[in-house]
Every structure is written in structure tokens, then in C-alpha cells.
Symmetry: C2
Subunit: 275 residues, 2 copies
């Protein structure tokens, strides 16, 4: 018997499609259905075997015992009340949103079986054509239960992520948003700002350094607009920290060679500790 | 007949070693000798076939018809007068330094056959054990001739770089330093600052985004201290530009969602134009 009878994936892009492929590969669901606003995405998801059936309307998710939101943050919030009207009260609901405080606060009011989630996987490419069951293998998935979270919902969502190869870490939604503002949102802001700092006519001189530091600036602008706004408070604090660190390098270049070398050595040592 | 009779490489690290391997591969020199402060580097360079012979003292470069400086910027400046005492006046001299104004100004006074150069290749790894003849294949090498540069020296240095597979682009030293401050030095400053902005205890949550944007923060701190100081004026201007772009994102997050989306979309479009 599978862990779930019918799983509904809302949003069949890179993450949603990869979840579908993973569920299939590990036999965790008897049936997987997908919903997307884009008919083409449904067709491709079906063709790749990520879903058994799909639709551009929500009706298809009826009778699901697990619903997974895999859409941008704002779309999760927009669709939640509509989905609540269709599914059973006992249905377990989770999401893969990049921010958690806002989503958890709203969705746990709407869904008794809600568990907030965020797999640390993905890339600047977002379409179903880049989907793969392997992206969660060995990755970390953060879950953000609250006092309201039902033990059984948490247990099953955890089994789902561990079943597709992820390592589950539990933390609060507010801690999640604080950490992610620095390890994920701030690097994106740095990358967007950095590429905007280089005149177009100089781009032909770009070597590996610029390419690597700005790779994620090719990420979807709408998704990231929503992430920054949803985690506004922490993101603004993060930018302040980055500005301070830039300022430290600036004043060291101006007046203190030894201090400059100390700052760069500390950075090097820290970076080398990241595996 | 080879292009050069005896090539002396000062500094047998990643770039110097790769030049040696490239010279050998393309039969551009009858003899290649190397100088390094580190005996181990000489032994490894010889073992890998990057040099025929090597030494920790300069005497070995006597009778070279091409000398290539492949050391950090400050070491080039430090060694130049000593090397001038050993080599012939007609010897062609070039370098691979990451900044050019300071080096060109000083070295063309010392060496009649000097041509400033900077191959846009390399990585955060700097040792001879990462050297490879392939790193210049299809890469760009910038040469910065001045009014004083002899045609014959420029012609032969150009033939050398093209002979090992690089595409040569000529530009002034001041233009070079301006461009590189934005396409190379600023990304390094951003990477150093970014990793310094993430608390140690959060590094375990780092996914691909942080890893890519900060990869070059693992670069050698002493080398980059020297590069930033050697190109101080342009680098400080570059930091100002980055701070302005960070400030733009910050105020858009605070008050203007549409503006935020416009900024991120412009960045995405620019990044996608980088090949």
C-alpha cells in the first residue's frame, strides 16, 4: 500500500514536476494529479510521467489525501481558499514556498492538516522540462510545524520527503525566514545588483567569476519579487548587513591594507567551510 | 623553428604552470624555465612537464628571449628591477597581472620590450596541481600596448597567446582597469562581503545559490588584497555603483512592488545575455 492514495500537485513546474517524478519513482502515491494555469505544462508533466492526470482547473484535486502547493508564494496565498472548498477537512496540505511565516500563518487557519515545507533544491531554471526525481536525493527539506500542527500530518509529510530521498530538518517559520533571508534571498539580491552594476558593453569581458556570482540573477523576476516582499523585514535587514560588509572592505581599501587582508582571509576561511 | 628559444616563467602556479604546458603542447619554445619561491612548486612544474628546468633563484632566466611574469601584482613590481639586471635589453617581457595601469607604467620604464597582458582565465584554485594547457583554449587574452610598445614585441606576444589558443584583444591599460574593476574585481568584493554576511551557524543551510555566488570568495586573500589596492580608484567607484544598485532594490522592497519587478527583470535580461 502506498503512503498516499491521491496526491494533488498545485503547480507543475520544476519543483512540482520533480515531486511528481519522485512520488512515482518511490511508489509513494497510488495516483498523482497536477494543476497548472498553463495547459502546456500539464501536457508535458503527463508526458514525462510526473502526473497521471492534470487540469487547468481545480476540480481534479477532489478526494486527494495530500495536496502539495508548488507555486510561487503569492499564488499559494491566492489559491488556498479556493482549494479549501474542494478538499476534505482531513486532507494533509503542504507547500514548497521559499518563505514560511506569511504562508504558515494564513494556511494553518484555512487547512487543519497543514504543514509548512521548503525543500532546499531547485535552480534558476523553472520549467517542467528541467524536472528530475534526482533533485531531492540527498537534499535538505525544511519543515516548519507550529503548536497547531497535527502530529499525524507532520509524520506523513516527513515520511513523504524522506521517502523521496531528502533529509528533513524541523524549525520555526520565523527562524526559517531569518536563515533563508541570508543564505538564499541575500545572494539573489547581490546577484541582481551585481549584474545591474556592469555596463552592457563590458559583458563580453566576463569570465568565470562574474558568471558564477550572477548565475542566479537569471532566476524568475516575478517569483523573486514575491519572495522579497513576503520576507520583507528579514530581507531588508540582510541588505543592511551586506552594505556594512561592503563598507568595511571599502574603508579598508581606502586606508588599511592589513585590515583588508584580514577581512578577505576571514571570508576565504568561511567559504572553504561550506561543503 | 620555435617562436621563442628560451621562455622564462616567473611564478609556476596555476597560470604560470598552464602557460608552460601550453608552450610545450604547441611547440612554441625550445626551452621553458620556471622560477618560484617555493621549491615544491618547481618540482611539481617539472614533473608535470610545464618547465624543462626551474629554480628558486633568478639566475636561471639568463638568455631568455621571452620573460613572462605570472606572479601576484605586487610581486611583479617587486621582482622587475632584479630581473632587468639579468636579462638582455632585447628580451621581450610580458605579464599576466590582473591590473594593468600600475604595472604597465612601471614595467615599461624598466623593460624596453615590455607588453602588458592579462589572460581572462584562471580560478579560485591557484596551485600548479590545477594547471592545464586547456585553460587558455578559446579564452580571451587582453594586451595593453602603449605608444612606447615596440611593434615586434607586441607581434610576438600576440603570436604566443594566439598560438596557445587564446583570442587577443587590445585595449589601453586604463580602459582595462576600468572594465576589470566591474567584471572581475567587483564580483570578488561582492562574494567576500556576501559570505561575511552569513553567520557561521547558518552555513549548513546553504544551497546552490549561496555556493555559486560565493565560490570566488575562496580565492587567495593576499592576491586579491594586492589587486584591490593596485586598482583602488576604479574598485572604489565600482563599490559605489553596487551600493547604489543595492539601495535601489532596498527602496523598491520598501515601497514599490512594480519598480522591484522592473529592476529584477532588467537584471535577468542582462544576465541571460552573458554567454
Amino acid at each position: 500500500m502506498s503512503l498516499f492514495k491521491k496526491v494533488a500537485i498545485i503547480g507543475t513546474g520544476l519543483i512540482g514536476g520533480s515531486i511528481g517524478l519522485s512520488l512515482k519513482k518511490h511508489n509513494l502515491a497510488e495516483e498523482v494529479v497536477g494543476v497548472s494555469r498553463h495547459k502546456k505544462s500539464i501536457i508535458l508533466a503527463k508526458k514525462s510521467g510526473a502526473i497521471d492526470d492534470g487540469s487547468t482547473t481545480l476540480e481534479i484535486i477532489r478526494e486527494a489525501d495530500l495536496v502539495i502547493f508548488a507555486t510561487p508564494v503569492n499564488v499559494i496565498i491566492e489559491l488556498a481558499p479556493k482549494i479549501a472548498k474542494i478538499i476534505d477537512k482531513n486532507c494533509i496540505v503542504t507547500d514548497v514556498g521559499s518563505t514560511k511565516e506569511e504562508i504558515v500563518r494564513l494556511l494553518e487557519k484555512i487547512f487543519p492538516g497543514f504543514v509548512g515545507g521548503h525543500p532546499l533544491a531547485g535552480s534558476e531554471k523553472r520549467s517542467i522540462s528541467n524536472a528530475s526525481a534526482s533533485i531531492f536525493q540527498g537534499s535538505v527539506c525544511l519543515l516548519t510545524p507550529t503548536k497547531k500542527t497535527k502530529n499525524d500530518s507532520l509524520r506523513k509529510v516527513r515520511m513523504f520527503w524522506e521517502g523521496i530521498g531528502a533529509k528533513v530538518v524541523l524549525l520555526s517559520a520565523s527562524k526559517h525566514d531569518k536563515i533563508l533571508s541570508l543564505v538564499s534571498h541575500l545572494p539573489h539580491i547581490a546577484a541582481f545588483s551585481l549584474i545591474n552594476s556592469v555596463p552592457k558593453e563590458y559583458l563580453g569581458f566576463a569570465a568565470g567569476g562574474l558568471k558564477d556570482t550572477t548565475r542566479i540573477a537569471a532566476s524568475d523576476a516575478e517569483i523573486w519579487t514575491q519572495i522579497f516582499l513576503s520576507n520583507r523585514k528579514n530581507v531588508l535587514k540582510g541588505i543592511d548587513v551586506l552594505e556594512r560588509n561592503l563598507g568595511n572592505i571599502k574603508s579598508a581599501i581606502k586606508q588599511n591594507k592589513k585590515q583588508l587582508s584580514i577581512i578577505l582571509n576571514a571570508a576565504k576561511k568561511k567559504r572553504e567551510s561550506v561543503v
